[in-house]
């Protein structure tokens, strides 16, 4: 009989990735990655397109299963105890998938209910998250009428609506105009300390401005994990590793 999962100590890593690989046929999208993410920090996954960032995030959120290795979220294994692990994560995929036929409030309420909130709690959570991400005046708008910037706010809103411990953002500034990029950066920085944020980017400057630590990936392999406070020149480090 298997033992119930043991919760992680409060000061331990909130995310633990141990020897994780993902193979598609004989091609390794992610190869033997081991990484820990601390509670309350902003971790940037940096790497060129095709380096395995999205695959790693998808395994963490439970969308993909690892070929080998183990991932746990707050002590809950993402495969054996996947529902508990998923409840602790809010996820914004790169493509900002939204139900275009719904109104913003309808969509946020649906996502809140889907993640276990009851009707009254969902209404309160939608009102709260709408204020947080700046959607207060767009709640009644059909999603199909929104600009890219507002669609991104809705996508972040749905990820936060159930008040998760961890926010996972895949290329959060892709396709945004300069003002929206700055707003998104400030928003992510504002979450530091309250929530653990894991974001991926292929833009070095983005990670440098937002993250506390950076994990550099190349061809599915984790090359380095560095605190940005101890890395005065991220560009030089990146070039030396790749």
């Amino acid at each position: 009989m298997s033992q119930p999962p043991r919760p992680a100590p409060i000061d331990g890593p909130i995310v633990s990735i141990e020897g994780v690989s993902k193979l598609y046929g004989s091609v390794a999208a992610v190869s033997d990655v081991t990484l820990e993410v601390r509670r309350g920090e902003v971790l940037g996954l940096l790497g060129p397109n095709g380096s395995g960032k999205t695959t790693l995030l998808r395994m963490l959120t439970g969308y993909l299963s690892p070929t080998s290795g183990r991932l746990s979220v707050d002590g809950h294994d993402t495969e054996r105890d996947r529902m508990a692990a998923r409840r602790r994560i809010g996820y914004v995929p790169e493509s900002l998938p939204l139900y275009s036929h719904m109104r913003v409030s309808e969509f946020l309420r649906f996502m809140a209910r889907l993640r276990g909130l009851d009707a009254a709690a969902s209404d309160a959570a939608v009102a709260e998250v709408a204020l947080q991400v700046g959607l207060g005046d767009r709640l009644a708008a059909p999603i199909r009428t929104l600009s890219r910037g507002y669609r991104q706010r809705v996508a972040i809103g749905q990820a936060l609506v159930h008040r998760p411990d961890i926010l996972v953002l895949d290329e959060p500034t892709n396709g945004l105009d300069p003002r929206q990029i700055i707003e998104t950066r400030n928003f992510i920085r504002g979450l530091a300390g309250q929530r653990t944020v894991i974001m991926s980017s292929h833009i070095l400057g983005e990670v440098e401005k937002v993250a506390d630590r950076v994990a550099i990936l190349l061809q599915g392999r984790l090359l380095s994990v560095q605190s940005l406070a101890d890395t005065p020149d991220l560009e030089a480090l990146f070039l030396s590793l790749t």
Partner: protein, 233 residues
Amino acid sequence: MRALRVLLRKELHATFTSPIAYAVAAVFLLVTGYTFSLTLFFTKVANLTYIFHQMYVLLILLVPVLTMRAFAEERRADTLELLLTAPVGEVWIVLAKFLAALVLVTCLLAASGAYAVILGLYGQPDWTPIYGGYLALFLLSCLLVAIGTLASSLTENQVVAATCSLGACLMLWFADSASYMVPAPLDALVIGLSLIGHFTTFVSGSLFMSDAGYYLTLTMLALFLTTRVVTDR
């Protein structure tokens, strides 16, 4: 069950706000209404057997159109990623899509119940084949919707999903024809797979558990396979 309720509400909203649903409903009711009026006018017999056989063909042709969006659209729009990273089991996602499409088809069958009501008002029909016919159509709908949902889970292209689903349903319809090419005792198995063979007994007013079991078993098999496809990532 709470997750199923939430998902089902979302699926019903998507189904009943889609123009596809209304196009399919219009075609179904127009064609069956036309045939009902014509048959009654010429034969003057209070009988729905013709209509049931026509509905059988129409459901085989139209249900793949209703179910093609189920998973294919979610895959195309990447929204499946939202559902599959939420703390809900894949089986509830599959069941919600299955039930939403089944509710729509059941509404179509219920609307066609007007023909039976008209026969009851102006004639003295034998009700046993009518009840049997509707039961058969409901069980057939379960199976067709389950096959359509399975086909939709295999692709992100709706047309491919509809085509595969239609092909599978047609193959099941004509399965008994292949029995001539299969040696005994396998021929009995092939005949047993035939959709029409299990349908006509119901419409004639003979209700057999084996016929109901055929539809329910294949429906559960298709739903099980759909769940496997969605889970296997």
